[in-house]
């Protein structure tokens, strides 16, 4: 009877819960990159003040910190929802992997959030209350806290993409951590962190350069604009180059542990060796995909059909078909049910051990046991394909953009740029920089779309699909909260953008 009560869930709850998580994550990700990026810029600016004692740098630091503060509040506000949504909307998930997944969130709170919240107050209100050294340390520690926070949340996210350091315990009916080091220092997490943080610095860089260009166009605060632009473009160029390198490493990680995601990113249905990388449909870079995935022009990359039907790589490695994985997943679930019953009935040890062996042999495909149609295993191809291209395209564009900005600003090489003066360019040059700000955000959000849409239908890769992770809620409840968050976050975003624009228009107290 209890069982009947518990399983009365409508499918709408799953989709609305996914939509709500996506909505809150997308909004949160509008604010976090700028926080991480501006943290570096304002840190460098205040360091200049600490070194030179020039009041100009102090006011410049205050100006960037003010913009940081407006954005930071929204990041904090949207972030709290995400943590609690794991419980409110994904309660089964919270139990099934809470033993592993909860730890990074707790560490994030203890190590990072308190650092951020303590020192951000000193940064805002401490100019006249603490020494310049303490204030400078507080500014950097605010950024460090935000970055450490990113580390732990990306450890948690990376674990969802590549679950390591855990074992299933049939007695507690959940996965349990067996190696904290494997979870916290997973290669997937390291790549993800490096790629995410460096791409966030690009946002900080372009935001800074865009604001500076607006001042140059208006012939206001020229010194602040030129000096800040050097810092913003410098940070941006380094970040864009690093994001490219770390992106390549992330691509190799995906190829290894999430081949279906890579196939969806490339809309690759029938794979093989010597695969080209599609720029757009019909135009491709020869061997590009094989190099991206394996660092080898002759490397084998499976396509969607290969992954569904099973394949053998040139070096003889065989991957079972989706049907076989589903069958083995069901076998694991049935053996688990039998194991539980045998234990409850006091069966002999040999019988229990037999069930345990079956569970362990098939546990790798446990999540597939919940899959009814193998077509559900294919993530949305169109979204992944285009989101990946936009992300990479925008990243490449920014390498060029920041390099040009630095070349013009420093007039290097002289032969090419000596006739240009960054303060007196035609207005449309500045407009290009300003309009690149929203493009950077689009590229950044596309990165998240690739990461999260590509993981579908899994909440934890190969271990638990979304429909086995959700809470027992009526879809109406989730629909109401979805629209409440949509209205709230959209309104607050509009207020924030308006305040930012007015604050930029007002400018620093120079």
């Amino acid at each position: 009877m209890l069982q009947n009560l518990l399983l009365n869930i409508d499918a709408g709850t799953i989709d609305w819960s996914r939509a709500q998580f996506a909505l809150t994550a997308i909004y949160h990700w509008l604010f976090v990159p700028l926080t991480l990026g501006l943290a570096v810029i304002m840190g460098i600016v205040e360091t200049k003040y600490y070194q030179t004692k020039d009041e100009f740098w102090k006011e410049a630091a205050k100006f960037w910190q003010k913009l940081f503060g407006i954005n930071f509040a929204m990041g904090v506000a949207t972030g709290i929802i995400l943590e609690f949504e794991f419980g409110t909307n994904w309660s089964n998930y919270s139990w099934f992997v809470g033993d592993i997944f909860g730890a990074p969130l707790a560490v994030e709170g203890i190590v990072a959030f308190f650092m951020e919240s303590t020192f951000v107050a000193v940064m805002y209100f401490g100019w006249k209350k603490v020494s310049p050294g303490f204030h400078l340390a507080s500014t950097w520690l605010t950024g460090l806290g935000a970055t450490i926070s990113a580390w732990w949340i990306l450890v948690a996210n990376a674990w969802m993409q590549y679950p390591v350091g855990c074992e299933f315990n049939p007695d507690t009916m959940r996965n349990e951590m067996v190696s904290f080091a494997e979870v916290a220092l997973s290669p997937f997490a390291i790549s993800k962190f490096c790629h995410t943080v460096t791409s966030s610095w690009i946002i900080g860089g372009i935001f800074c350069v865009g604001v500076c260009c607006w001042y140059l166009m208006k012939k206001r605060h020229t010194r602040l604009a030129v000096e800040s632009m050097k810092i913003g473009a410098g940070v941006g160029l380094v970040a864009a180059l690093l994001a490219g390198a770390t992106g390549h490493k992330s691509g190799m990680d995906v190829a290894e542990v999430q081949p279906m995601k890579l196939a969806a990113m490339e809309a690759l249905y029938d794979g093989g060796t010597e695969q080209g990388l599609k720029l757009i449909e019909g135009i491709e870079v020869p061997y590009g995909l094989s190099i991206m995935a394996t660092n080898d022009p002759k490397g084998y990359v499976p396509g969607i059909n290969d992954l569904l039907n099973g394949y053998t790589t040139p070096d003889g490695k065989t991957e079972p078909s989706a049907d076989e994985k589903i069958a083995r997943g069901k076998k694991a679930i049935e053996a688990l049910a039998a194991y539980r019953k045998a234990k409850a009935d006091g069966a002999d040890e040999a019988t229990i051990a037999q069930y345990l062996t079956t569970i362990n042999e098939n546990m790798k495909y446990f999540g597939y046991g919940y899959v009814k149609d193998k077509a559900d295993l294919v993530p949305p191809v169109l979204v992944n394909f285009w989101a990946f291209r936009v992300m990479v395209g925008v990243g490449c564009l920014f390498i060029l953009f920041f390099a040009v900005i630095l070349a013009v600003t420093y007039k290097f090489p002289k032969a090419l740029f000596k006739k240009y003066d960054i303060t007196t360019l035609p207005a449309w040059h500045y407009w290009v920089a300003i309009l690149l700000i929203p493009l950077a955000y689009i590229g950044s959000e596309c990165g998240w779309l690739v990461a999260e849409f590509g993981r579908q239908p899994w909440t934890i890769q190969d271990m638990l699909p979304t429909w086995a992770s959700v809470s027992d809620l009526q879809s109406q409840s989730v629909i109401i909260t979805f629209f409440l968050f949509l209205v709230l976050f959209t309104t607050m975003l509009a207020v924030e953008i308006n305040i930012l624009l007015k604050q930029i228009k007002k400018g620093p107290e120079l």
């Binding site: 209890l2 003010k66 794991f86 919270s94 730890a103 707790a106 027992d472």
Partner: protein, 382 residues
């Protein structure tokens, strides 16, 4: 360290975070009375700027409390948050509103106007403590949920969910229990008491301090009445106990027995109550004394800590189910694995270091009290 010790240790850490969170609700409490405490536009600004330098501690403690609960007792996280959906969503919603309200309210470009965000601060100041207090009350009163872990092996189900709320209200039904409301409102008035004491200490303004003494009486009297009523109710009610086999049963005077059997919690509770009364009383009766927040704040932490531990230690089911008694959560049946608790134990050793730098930074910022003059010259003032 045994598994049993680690379970009790993590219960202590989570309870301590919960107790510190209740103390930090002074931010909400002060915001809920900012209109009358500040009285003028200038006075209200002083109040908001005083709490505005601390709101992130409350917010961070709430998030860390959630994260620590998730890591150490994931079945609670799964059952309570997924089940009492509406209760938690309303709490979170008001905290989201609060998070942006300080930064946005007086900035140029705020097209919603400062009053909108001041309303959000008031809303969070009342609803936040009320529902958090109500959520704490469910540890003693019980909630309507059912757990059946074997559902996970029903691969034929649309969604193999292990826990569900036994009615469609998803947590709001708790508010129909008058004792939940009694503790909820006790926390609302406690937050006000602490908020008034904090502002009186943190703001150097004679008008606010003299108004604070009067408002303090108005908040302290209902708080004490409600708190004493709830404490007596808890001590006299049947509690949710479990035996060595993990079978849960009702035990008369369970919580009273817990305090008598764990005398150190009783001592903690009594010291806490005395400190709260001392902080309130001295502020009301001793003219010129503005340090009441410290004894009252420490007293609050000790009292709440004792109460939370009394509902979890000594073979007590800390999250009882009124729908199915055997679904009730105990430390043993809801905690993380021994490995995870042990790993997190080592992480928790960082807490004293974190507390040390918080205290250092707090003192650095608060050594000069906030004045009207300071706000005029501060370009980041709210």
């Amino acid at each position: 360290m045994t598994y049993d010790f680690l379970q009790h240790y993590w219960c202590f850490i989570v309870s301590l975070l919960g107790a510190i969170l209740v103390f930090l609700l002074f931010v909400q409490g002060a915001n809920s009375v900012a209109r009358s405490l500040g009285y003028t536009e200038e006075g209200r600004r002083l109040v908001y700027n005083s709490t505005g330098r601390k709101w992130e501690f409350t917010f961070t403690t709430l998030v860390t409390f959630g994260g620590a609960f998730f890591a150490s007792f994931p079945l609670f996280y799964s059952t309570s948050f997924g089940g009492a959906y509406w209760l938690w969503m309303i709490i979170l919603f008001t905290f989201v509103l609060q998070a942006v309200s300080y930064e946005f309210q007086n900035k140029i470009g705020n097209f919603l106007g400062p009053k909108t965000f001041q309303f959000f601060l008031t809303l969070n100041g009342i609803v936040g403590p009320l529902l958090l207090g109500g959520a704490v009350a469910t540890f003693f009163e019980g909630s309507n949920f059912i757990i059946a872990k074997d559902n996970l092996v029903d691969a034929g189900a649309i969604t193999p969910i292990i826990s569900r709320w036994a009615n469609a209200s998803h947590g709001l039904d708790a508010l129909l229990n008058p004792w939940v409301l009694v503790l909820g409102f006790a926390v609302v008035f406690l937050a006000r008491v602490l908020g008034i004491l904090y502002v009186m200490n943190n703001v150097a303004d004679e008008d606010i301090r003299s108004r604070g003494s009067v408002r303090l009486v108005g908040a302290a009297v209902p708080f004490l009445l409600l708190f004493v009523a709830y404490l007596v109710h808890v001590l006299l009610k049947d509690g949710f106990a479990y035996n060595d086999e993990g079978v849960i049963y009702m035990e008369p005077y369970k919580y009273l027995n817990n305090f008598l059997e764990m005398w150190y919690l009783l001592v903690l509770l009594l010291i806490g109550v005395v400190l709260v009364l001392f902080g309130i009383g001295k502020t009301i009766f001793s003219k010129g004394y503005n340090g009441g927040i410290w004894p009252a704040g420490i007293g609050t932490v000790l009292t709440v800590l004792a109460l939370l531990l009394s509902c979890a230690w000594n073979h007590t089911a800390y999250y009882p189910s009124t729908a199915d008694l055997q679904s009730s959560l105990t430390l043993a049946n809801s905690c993380s694995s021994e490995f995870t608790l042990r790993t997190m134990f080592y992480v928790s050793l960082l807490v004293p270091f974190v507390l040390a730098y918080i205290i250092y930074a707090w003192r650095a910022i608060d050594k000069k009290k906030i004045t009207k003059e300071e706000l005029q010259g501060d370009d980041h003032a709210y």
